[in-house]
């Protein structure tokens, strides 16, 4: 029996020490009518069989082909050294660092993570990570409501639709209202008039469709009304784009997958939240602080725990118990491996490839949306419906096109993303596939909805 070391002698010895006759005597408290029901589970597999079974499943999945998918997850370069270091057994199989003296590995690397996220965002205080970008946005909204004691949040429609759905789920039970700011034809957010009943304005940059927003103006509009600006940001883009601290954001949140976590069909990666000094006491999630030990040595420890559920219980800032430590560690090691130059190179490579792709598509007569201020992703209007097009392209060996939801009112379309890993051959493959399905030479021949 795998993973359970007990021999029959062990079991006998243990039972004797305990003073019972059989293992079932230890289950006397369980009502007989519910004990040992038959369980219809598949027969156990040994290692060889299991891996073959998983290989069989994996063979049905499209991997390692030209990929132009974004929507919050992208395939970027991850140096080999990153997973080798982050996935050492001591990091993988450690628990939460409550006994700090024997957990300096986890604690120090988390302190490094907090520092790096603070540097990227330009805000002083980062927590030790959260589940994902979407739930981090929801928690940021709750923070703003606590801080301002107002009961409405305003959010741009260009914030990822799934993020807005999560926001809705978290705010519904507390009767907090959500006002949605609609987009301009440029597919960016107009600077809204923020009412003084609004706790926070939430804007994503680059937005869900890929385009850059006027964040300094957003900050000004929010602050003029006494509201917070919550900036939902792409942490890799921050290697080249102006950082939230520079334009007055109060909270920077987002998803960290692009910083060095494999795509894994959507998780686990991690969310991040970085705030101004004024918001420290409202910040949910774990925090690692620096201190000294009894010998005066610098060391690290979980701190300000009284905000958290295990102490504050029903009055905690959030019910959040864990963080996404191991995923955040992958990002920490990755950022250290790449350094500021490597990260900038990756970001600039992404921008160049995305713009090269857009230009190639325009030349080939595809209906690329006119806005040219995008980071990694942009909109392609299509004849076929987005989901259908995506399937047709997959059949032709290309993973491309996140369907643009109806709420954006552009008709059928997809967003296409490129990264520094995108090659000329990849782009040719996409063009060939698009040509094959009749999506090229569209402009000028037909009115596109």
């Amino acid at each position: 029996m795998p993973y359970v070391p007990h021999t029959d002698d062990d079991v006998r010895r243990a039972l004797a020490a305990i003073g019972v006759d059989g293992v079932d005597d230890l289950f006397v408290d369980v009502p007989a009518e519910i004990l040992d029901p038959p369980l219809d589970l598949p027969a156990p597999m040994d290692e060889v069989t299991l891996l073959a079974h998983l290989d069989g499943l994996a063979a049905l999945d499209q991997q390692a082909v030209p990929t132009f998918l974004g929507g919050g997850v992208r395939r970027h370069f991850i140096p080999t050294v990153t997973p080798r270091l982050a996935m050492q057994g001591e990091f993988v199989t450690a628990y939460t660092p409550y006994q700090a003296e024997v957990a300096q590995g986890v604690l120090q690397s988390t302190f490094e993570f907090q520092t790096m996220m603070s540097e990227l965002t330009g805000l002083p205080i980062a927590n030790a990570s959260m589940y994902d970008g979407a739930s981090a946005v929801a928690e940021a909204a709750l923070l703003a409501v606590r801080q301002t004691r107002r009961e409405t949040v305003a959010v741009s429609r260009a914030v990822h639709p799934e993020t807005r759905e999560v926001l809705q789920t978290y705010l519904w039970p507390l009767d907090i209202d959500i006002e949605v700011v609609d987009l301009e034809p440029s597919l960016t957010t107009p600077v809204p008039a923020v009412g003084d009943h609004v706790a926070a304005l939430i804007v994503q940059d680059p937005n869900h469709l890929g385009y850059l927003e006027d964040m300094p103006a957003m900050a000004a509009a929010a602050h003029a009304a006494g509201a917070l600006l919550i900036a939902v940001v792409d942490p890799l883009a921050l290697a080249v784009l102006r950082e939230p601290g520079s334009y007055g954001a109060d909270v920077a949140v987002g998803d960290g997958q692009v910083l060095g976590v494999p795509m894994q069909y959507g998780g686990p990666a991690f969310g991040f939240m970085v705030v101004t000094d004024a918001l420290l006491r409202q910040l949910p999630g774990r925090l690692v602080g620096q201190t000294n030990d009894a010998d005066g040595r610098r060391a690290f420890v979980l701190t300000l725990q009284a905000r958290e559920q295990h102490i504050r219980r029903s009055k905690a800032k959030s019910n959040i118990c864990s963080n996404h430590q191991l995923a955040a560690l992958l990002a920490t090691v990755n950022m250290a491996a790449l350094g500021p130059a490597g990260l900038r190179e990756m970001a600039e490579g992404t921008v160049r490839r995305a713009h090269q792709l857009a230009a190639a598509l325009r030349s080939a007569g595809a209906d690329v949306a006119p806005n040219e201020r995008f980071f990694a992703e942009f909109v392609l209007r299509t004849r076929a419906e987005g989901v259908t097009l995506r399937r047709r392209l997959a059949k032709r060996g290309v993973r491309a096109g996140v369907p643009v939801p109806e709420e954006y009112g552009i008709g059928s379309g997809v967003t296409l993303a490129a990264t520094e890993l995108t090659t000329d051959a990849d782009i040719e493959a996409l063009l060939a596939a698009l040509h094959d399905v009749g999506e090229l030479g569209v402009v000028g021949t037909e009115v596109v909805a």
Binding site: R281, L304, Q305, A306, I311, R312, K315
Partner: protein, 128 residues
């Protein structure tokens, strides 16, 4: 365990001074600060807030715990000890002096007599 004679106490370990012009000063007892350990942060009520007797008014946080502090008498908050925001340790070192939390204009000055006297509180603290 210091229990000053001139104060009155609540079973939840708050103390209050005798009303003077309708104003009482409120804090937590020496016993309470000892139980809490090193105080690291204090959340004080807003000036102007009206509190009912027994209503949660403030929070005192130590490294390992956070305790609600309850208004021992009904009244309106007229002053808070802002110095505690920079130096919360005053609650540990001088619970009855520099460690005061807030001042109330009490609705009913006679209610102070109904609080626990030092002997009665000593009994409570011993059980605790």
């Amino acid at each position: 365990m210091k229990i000053p004679e001139e104060l009155r106490f609540a079973a939840s370990h708050e103390w209050a001074t005798e009303p003077s012009d309708g104003i009482v000063t409120v804090g937590i007892t020496d016993f309470a600060q000892d139980q809490l350990g090193d105080v690291v942060f204090v959340e004080l009520p807003d000036v102007g807030r009206t509190l009912a007797a027994g209503e949660a008014a403030a929070v005192v946080e130590s490294v390992k715990t956070a305790s609600d502090i309850y208004a021992p008498l009904a009244g309106e908050v007229v002053e808070v000890n802002g110095a505690l925001l920079e130096a919360p340790e005053a609650i540990n070192t001088d619970a009855y002096g520099e460690g005061w939390l807030f001042r109330l204009r009490v609705a009913d000055a006679d209610a102070w007599d109904g609080m626990l006297d030092p002997d009665a509180y000593a009994a409570v603290a011993e059980e605790g």
